[in-house]
Amino acid sequence: MLFPAGIPLFLKLVDRVTNTIISSKQAESAAVNSQTTLWQIDIFPVEGQPNRLASEVLDNAKDLQINHSMAISAARGFLIQGTLTREQVEELTGNLLVEPVVERCEFALVGSDSLSQAPADLSNLVHVLPLPGVTDPQAESALMAMKQLGYPVEVVRTFKKFWVSDLSTADQQLLNSKILCNDSIEMIVVGPLQLSELHLGQKYEFVKRDIALAGLSDDALMQISQDWTLSLSLIEMHTIRDHFETLGRAPSDIELESIAQTWSEHCSHKTLAGRISYRDENGPRTFSNMLKETIFSATMQIRADLGENDWCVSVFKDNAGIVRFDENYNVAFKVETHNRPSALEPYGGANTGIGGVIRDTLGTGMGAKPICNTDVFCFASPGTPYGELPPGVMHPRRIMKGVVSGVRDYGNRMGIPTVNGAVYFDERYVGNPLVFCGNVGLIPKDKSFKEAQPNDLIVSIGGKTGRDGIHGATFSSAELTESSDVTSGGAVQIGNAITEKMLMDVMLAARDRGLYSAVTDCGAGGYSSAVGEMGEELGAEVWLDKVPLKYEGLSYTEIWISEAQERMVFSVPESDWQEFQALCASESVEATVIGQFKPTGQLVLKFEDQVVGDISMSMLHGGRPPVVREATYQPAPPTPLSKIEEKSTEDWTHDLCKILASPNVASKHWIIRQYDHEVQGGSVIKPLVGAENDGPGDAAVVRPVLQSRRGLAISCGTNPRYGDLDTYHMATSAIDEAIRNCVAVGADPSQIAILDNFCWGHTDRPETLGSLVRAAIGCQDLSVVLQTPFISGKDSLHNEFSYTDGDGNRKTISIPATLLISAMGQVPDIANCVTMDLKKAGNVIFQIGVTGNHFGGSHWAMVNGMTGGQVPTVDAERAKSTFAHLHQAIKSGLIRSCHDMSEGGLAVAVAEMAFAGGLGADISTDEIGIEMPEVEAEAEIDVSYALAAILFSESNTRFLVEVEPQDVHAFESIMGDVDVQRIGSVVTEPKLTIEMAHNLVIESDLTALKQAWLGTLDWN
C-alpha cells in the first residue's frame, strides 16, 4: 500500500517524471557542507554465513507453491538522514550497525548506482519499508545509539532489500504481496530507492469540528456512524442526538468519538453485560445483565459460602482479577484476545496482544509485577491447500508462524516466562484466527486497590502517541471481510517491547515508593478509555496539546483515541510529581502531565486552552441505551454415533497413532521451545517434561517468590468441537479440563481461580447469542458446585468472515463457539509437584474416574470421519470429590506420575505417559466399566463399541496415575469412594500393550507412537 489517506508522508518519494534526483556527486559535496543527506546502508551476511532473510522467503514461497527454482538474495538495511560525512557513515557501520566477523555492508547516498548493481542471475530489485508511522523499534534504537555516540543524525528507518531471479508476473506478484510485504504495515518499492528525505510529519492546523445531528434522518445518522467507524447502532445514535439537543448544541467530533469508544463492544461488553431474553428447552429466562447474573453471580455465591475463608480479593472490577497468594502477596490474572489485528498482521497483532495483556496486570490495583504468560491460539489447519483459501485470507501456516514469533519476541523481551498454552485447529478459523494472550502478576497485598484523588495530575508515561491503531476498539467490534486487509491499516500496529519493559521497571519502583494513587493501562480506545475509566467517579480535564507525539500532524481527536502501544496513565498527587518524573527520567522513560482529575463530574478536553469536548461522566458511562436482545437455544437432537466397523489390533493401534498425530494433540515443541519459559528463575514444572524433556506436561508450575516454596500452576481447557453439540457441556468440559490439568501437577483444587474468554460469531442472531448464554449458564452451574470462582473474563463477538466466492455468492464463515477457560491453581509446597511421565518399571497404573460412551466431538470420531454420539458431560459432585481425593493422594506423596485424560481418552493418555517416561506399559482394560445413559444402552452395543469407549471416549474428570507397589493400599484407601480401576503396570520394554479379556487390542513400540506425536508440527 502506498500512502494511505490520513497518514503523513514520512518518505517523500521523488516523482521520477517531474523531479530529477540530485546526483550523488552533488549530494556528497552537500554532505561536506553539513547539509542534510540521506544514506542507505545495505548489510549482507559474509560468505559462509547463512542468509536468514532469504531462507525465510524461500521457505514461505514453498508454502505458496511459487516457482521452486526461484533464487533470492536479501539484505537488511538502514536509511540514515543527517549531516553525516562519508567517513562518519563508515564509522557508524563499523561501530554499530554491522556485525563484525559475520556481516559486510555496502553504503552510499540513496539513489547511487553502486546500490543497484544486480548480483548474477538476480535481476529484480525490491525494497520493503515500514509504512509511514508504523513502529520501527530497530530504527528507534539505532537513532538513539547514534545520537548517544554523538553523530549528527535526524531520522533513521530500516528496510529490507531483495534481489530475485526472473519469475512469472503472477509469481512475482504473489511473492511481493503475500511474502515480501504485508501491506497493512509495509510498502514495497520495486527498483532502486529514489528518496530525497525522510519526512517528520506535517504541522497540524487546529480547527474544532462539530457534527450536527439535530434533525438528521435515521439513514443520515447511520451514515455518520459508518463514515467515522463509530460502530454505533441507530438507537445509540438517537440517544446521542437527543442528549446534545437537550444541551442545545451539536457534539464535537471528539465527543462523538469518546462516546463511541466508551460504548463500544470492546470496552463496555454491551451485549453480554446487557439485557437478554433467553429461551431454551427449560423455558424462558430474562437477564438484565447476563454476565452478572450467571458467571459473576456464581463467584459472589462462592465468596458468600466461603465466608471468612474467602480468598478472592478483587473480581470482575479491575483490569485483572485478584486472589490471595500468601501472607505478603496476592496474584492477578487476565487473559485477553487480539483476534482481528492478528488476522491482518499476525506478528504485530500477537505482539501487541501480549503487550496489551501485560499492561492489564500492570494496570491492576496499584500495579502487579508480571510473572508468567499463557498463550492459546486457534487456527485453520496449517496444511490447508492454498487454493482452498477464501479470497483476502492469509495462509494459516503463515498466520501461525507470525503469531508465534509475535508472542515470542514480545514475551521474551519483557522477561516474562511463557509457561502455558494450547493450539486448536479447525477449518472455521480460516478467516478469523483467535489469539488469546494471558498474564499472571504478583502484587503486594496492600497495593491491590487504587483510587484517583481529586486534583491529582493525569500523567502518561512510556511510548509516544502516533496514529497507531486508530479505531481499534470500534474496529474490533465489527466483522472482517475480504477487504479488511485494505481498509483497516490504521488498526494494525507493531509493538516495541523494550519501551514497555522500561515503563514496567520505573512503574514498579514508583509503586513501591508510593508516588501515585491510581494507574491504568492505555489499551483499546487509548487515552479516551484510560482517562474516562479512571475519572469516572470524579471528572477530568485533559490538555491534549501536551501529549508527546511521534510526529506532527495529529488532530486533537486522533491524539485522544490513538491506540499507540506501551503507554500507561497514572494519577499522581501534585506533591509527588517531581520525584515521579525524576525517577522516570533516570531510566530514560518519558513522563508527561496531560491533565488533572477534577471533582466536576465532567470530562473536559482542551487543545491549546480551547475546549474541544465537555461531556458528563454520567452520559459517558451510564447513558448507553439498554437494548433487549433475543437469544434462543435449541439443543441439537441426539444422533447416534456412526456404525463402528470391526477392527483388528493394527486398526486400533493405527487409530491411536492418527490421534497422536492430529494437530490438536501433536507435540507443540516447535512453539514451546521458542518461548523463554524459565526467565525470572522460578520454573518448577516446565511445559515439556519427562526422560528427554519432551513429554506433554499438563500444567506448568512457577515459584513467583524466590525465597518461598509456594507455587502457582497455570493451565487451560477448551474444546470447541463439543460446542457443536451442546455449548453447555462444552463449557463444563472446558472447566473440568482446565482444573484437571492444574490438579494433575499438584494444585490444591479448593484454591483454583478461573477466567472465561468467549469468542463467538455474530451474536445479533438469537441462536448464536443463545449458544453463548447457554455456555455461561454451564459455567455458573459448575463453578458453584466446584467452588471454583471466575475472577475475570473477556469476550470477543462477531468473529465472522464474509467474502464473495468464485460464483459470485456472498458467503460467511463463523468461527465455532469457542470458550477458553484458563486456570490458576496454587501449590502449597512445590516439593509435592508431580509430572506425567512414567517413572519406574514395576509401578502400578490406575485409572481414576468413570468412563462413558462420550464420542460426540471426540478426536477418535474426528480422525475416523464419524459423526454423532454423546457429548461429554460433567458430573459436578463426582468431579468435586475426585479432585479433592486425588489432591490428597498427591499431597501424601503417593503418586509418581499423573496425567489428565482428554482428547483421545485412555489410549492417548497412557501412550503419552509411556513415551514421555521412556518406559513401556502393559494395560488390561478388564476392570473398566462403561456407564451409559439408558437411551443409548438400548441401542445395539457390540464389543467394538465397548472397546472404542474404553480406549478413546473423552469422558470428563478422569486421570491416569502411577503408584509404587507398596503404596497401592494407601492410595486406594485415600481415594475413598472415588471410582478407581487398577489397569496395569509400568514395564522396562519400550512398548505399549493394551488388552481386553486377554485379547491384544493395541500394541506398539514407543518410538512409533512418539514419532507420530512429534512429527506433525516439527517445523524447521
Binding site: 561501530n95 559475520v102 545509539a145 555516540l149 533516570s586 528463575g681 524433556n693 515459584r703 517416561g917
Partner: protein
C-alpha cells in the same frame, strides 16, 4: 575480607537481574543494582564493588544485533572505568546477553588490528531456543569454574553461535584455556556434538569464554536458572539434588574474595 559486593548492571531490556542478584546473595555475596545511566553519570560508584555482573535480557531490544547497542555505549563511555576495575583484580561475569555485550565491546577478547577476534551471532536454526544443555569445562584458568567439571544448564537465546574470525584465533584461545565452557553430549562425551546438544551451531561447541586472566567470564547458558534443585527439568524423576549445578559459578565468584 567480608562479603563481596556484586553490582548487577541493568539497562533498558535487561531482564534476568533479579534472579541473578538472588543467586549471588544465596552464594554469600551482597547484590546491588544500578542502571547504566546511573553508572555513566557516576562511574565512581563501581569502586564499592568487587564483582560486576551483566545479566541476561535483551538490552535495547537487541535491536541491530544482540547486545550491540549497550556494547557500543559501554565501549564509548565506560572503557576506562572497566579497565581499571579489572586491573584491580576484580571479577566480571556476563550471562547470555551479558556475554554478547562483553564480546561485542571487546572487553572479553580485545580487538587486534583487524577488529574483534570473534562474535556471537544467530543460532544455526535462525530462531530463539529455550532448552537444557550438557556442558564440559576447561577450568584451568576461569575463576568462576574452579572445581567444576560438568554442568547441566538451560540456554534461552537467539544469537548464541560463537564464530571466531579464523582458526588461528580459535586455536590460540583453546591453547590458552580460554574456551572455558563447551556444549557436550549427555554424560560429558566429547567428539561431534549434534543439535540440539550444541543448540546453536557454535564453532568448536563453545558456550563460554574467559579472558586471559580468567577473571572475566562470559557464557550463553544461564547458571542462575539452575540454583534450586527444582529448577532441574527432571527433578520429579531423578529426585532433588542439594543444589543446582549453576550455583557453583556464583559461589566461586564470591569465594574468590575470601
Amino acid at each position: 575480607m567480608s562479603q563481596p559486593n556484586v553490582l548487577i548492571l541493568r539497562a533498558p531490556g535487561t531482564n534476568c537481574d533479579q534472579e541473578t542478584g538472588y543467586a549471588f546473595e544465596l552464594a554469600g555475596g551482597t547484590a546491588g543494582f544500578a542502571h547504566i545511566n546511573q553508572l555513566i553519570e557516576k562511574p565512581k560508584l563501581i569502586k564499592d564493588y568487587q564483582i560486576l555482573c551483566l545479566p541476561g535480557g535483551f538490552s535495547y531490544g537487541d535491536d541491530i544485533a544482540a547486545g550491540r547497542v549497550l556494547a557500543s555505549q559501554m565501549q564509548s563511555r565506560l572503557a576506562d572505568v572497566l579497565a581499571e576495575f579489572h586491573a584491580d583484580g576484580k571479577l566480571i561475569l556476563g550471562i547470555c546477553n551479558g556475554f554478547q555485550i562483553l564480546i561485542k565491546s571487546g572487553f572479553l577478547l580485545p580487538p587486534d588490528e583487524q577488529g574483534l577476534p570473534a562474535t556471537l551471532t544467530w543460532n544455526e536454526n535462525g530462531r530463539f531456543i529455550d532448552c537444557w544443555v550438557n556442558l564440559k569445562t576447561d577450568n584451568d584458568k576461569c575463576v568462576f569454574l574452579n572445581g567444576v567439571e560438568q554442568m547441566y544448564l538451560p540456554i534461552a537465546h537467539a544469537e548464541g553461535k560463537f564464530v571466531p574470525r579464523n582458526e588461528a584465533i580459535l586455536n590460540q584461545l583453546s591453547a590458552n584455556h580460554q574456551l572455558a565452557l563447551k556444549y557436550c553430549r549427555p554424560g560429558g562425551l566429547n567428539g561431534f556434538v549434534p543439535f540440539p546438544h550444541n543448540p546453536n551451531g557454535s564453532t568448536a561447541h563453545v558456550a563460554g569464554i574467559c579472558d586471559e586472566t580468567g577473571r572475566i567470564f562470559g557464557l550463553m547458558p544461564h547458571p542462575e536458572r539452575h540454583i534450586d534443585p527444582t529448577h532441574h527439568p527432571r527433578w520429579t524423576r531423578e529426585g532433588l539434588a542439594e543444589r543446582g549445578d549453576g550455583f557453583a559459578v556464583f559461589e566461586n565468584a564470591v569465594q574468590y574474595f575470601f
